[in-house]
Amino acid sequence: MTTATTPVPTAAATRHEPAAGPSLARLTGVELRKLADTRAGRWLLISIGLIAVAIVVVQLFVVDGPEQTFTAFFAPSLLPVGLLLPVLGILSITGEWSQRTALTTFALVPRRQRVIVAKLAAVVLAALASVLVSLAVAAAGTLAAKATGGAGAWTFDWELLPYAAVFQVANVLMGAGFGLLLLNTPLAIVTYLLLPTVWSVLSAMIKALREPAGWLDTSVTMAPLLSPDVTAGQWGRLGVSLAVWMVVPLVAGLIRTMRREVS
């Protein structure tokens, strides 16, 4: 427990250039690691994988044999995964505050915006990886369908792939935006999950809300992404809803995080 005690009395006098800061790629690597290095984080990632598998298994039983194609397995697995990805986005941000690790993180990287950008990059990569997982389980499902007497056709609408990527990235970033803005895990998760329900309840009750809902309710505007055809009008509505529920929380949350006192 003793240090190497070579006396270096002049150590302080010799000024050296400040060490270079970490690159964004390195910070993103660190944030990716943080997603998986706790038990809670690991289980969230595992559940995302398992839920994709479960959906495919269920379809093997409930969907008619001739309709068991690659696309038929792929598209439905996106929805439940898309429900958990925002939780991943929220936790990656709010975990720093609830576990108070922000104190260490921002001591090492005082330019907080760099940490936030790295976190967003990490969850976007995770969302893209989830699309690959969906592809993989859909492929496994197709093989299983063939083996069990289903169609097992490899038909795939390639437009679905970029749409799926947009769908999952938007999901995870919306979650991250809510986390960044609210900086509190339960509050962010509950708010995020309740919002679509509140929309549908309100627009069912209040006629005047039905038209805006088509532009603002993300559960409506994002639905076309799960089909191979998205019209220009649908992109427009999607853009508006994401500006409101993704871009605004991200920007406002970034400002809040930059200014917030860490203790």
């Binding site: 150590a11 060490a19 390195r26 706790t38 690790t101 005082p110 006192e261 203790s263």
Partner: protein
């Protein structure tokens, strides 16, 4: 080198830190002392860019903390040992920091070894650590980038006597090799043994600062007599300001010679007469804690 220049922090009408100015030189250990709630942690958080000051500024190694590109390599910071993810292992906590700073991975094991966390401890989750182990982990984290400045908030909290002794040795050695250390504590005795300089804060203001020896020397005279009552009367008559010390004697704001002369003139038998040393500072400390006017305590 740490320079704190007229730092002030207000929370609404409450002023947590008011016009705090001090500097920490390379090769020294500066003890930052004050009762709980005096503003120590707020000051340290402002130095580290965690809390924006209402006015004033602080620089570390010549720059504001937030302008340092890779602060972990310049300044080791331990602001709160409990602020670690309970679900990560000790080793993982250090590995994340090592990656962030671009420090060689071998340093993780080296620093764990240095602070006395063995392999079993390093593999356990931080949630299962005792406070003492968290302090050790926090110290390893602070030392990981081989910085030249250390800023430690209550690092001795939760350490056992052996641990406190060990930490003193480590910090002393660190400073002797040219490092700058700022460590806070609410216990005078804890800091006295290792610090060269003291900054005493109370109610958000610096109430005393200077070299330890100088501060302790200026702390007055401790005197004890067989007849304490007569001594009190004698001191009053001689107009020597005296307060009852922590262990029964009187702390007098005067030179031992003047006190001894007064006692001799009155024909009193003294059982003890010496410079008050830490007894005087302790007295100042108690006054601070009691919430009396801090200005009064110093003058």
């Amino acid at each position: 080198m740490i320079e704190v220049d007229h730092l002030t922090k207000r929370y609404g009408p409450h002023t947590a830190v008011e016009d705090v100015t001090f500097r920490c030189e390379p090769g020294t250990v500066t003890g930052f002392l004050g009762p709980n709630g005096a503003g120590k942690s707020t000051t340290m958080r402002m130095i580290c860019g965690m809390t924006p000051p209402s006015s004033g500024a602080a620089t570390v190694a010549g720059r504001p903390y937030r302008a340092l590109p890779n602060p972990g390599r310049e300044i080791g910071v331990l602001l709160d040992a409990s602020a670690q993810h309970a679900g990560r292992t000790g080793r993982e906590t250090l590995t994340l920091a090592a990656r962030t700073m671009g420090v060689d991975r071998g340093q993780v094991a080296a620093k764990l070894d240095l602070v006395g966390l063995n392999d079993t401890a390093a593999r356990r989750r931080v949630g299962a650590y005792s406070l003492g182990m968290r302090q050790r982990l926090g110290l390893a984290l602070a030392l990981l980038g081989d910085p030249r400045v250390l800023i430690l908030d209550e690092p001795a909290n939760g350490l056992d006597p052996e641990g406190i002794y060990w930490m003193r040795g480590l910090l002393r050695d660190y400073a002797d090799r040219g490092g700058t250390v700022l460590l806070s504590s609410h216990l005078l005795r804890e800091v006295e043994a290792v610090a060269d300089r003291l900054v005493v804060i109370g109610g958000g203001r610096v109430v005393a600062q200077g070299g330890k020896d100088e501060l302790l020397a200026g702390a007055g005279t401790l005197v004890r007599a067989r007849d304490q009552h007569a001594l009190r009367l004698t001191l009053d008559r001689a107009a020597l300001p005296a307060t009852v010390g922590t262990d029964g004697g009187f702390v007098v704001r005067a030179e031992p010679e003047a006190v001894g002369q007064a006692a001799a003139d009155a024909g009193l038998v003294l059982t003890e007469l010496r410079p008050a040393g830490s007894g005087g500072l302790e007295q100042l400390f108690l006054t601070l804690t009691a919430g009396a006017s801090t200005r009064e305590a110093v003058r």
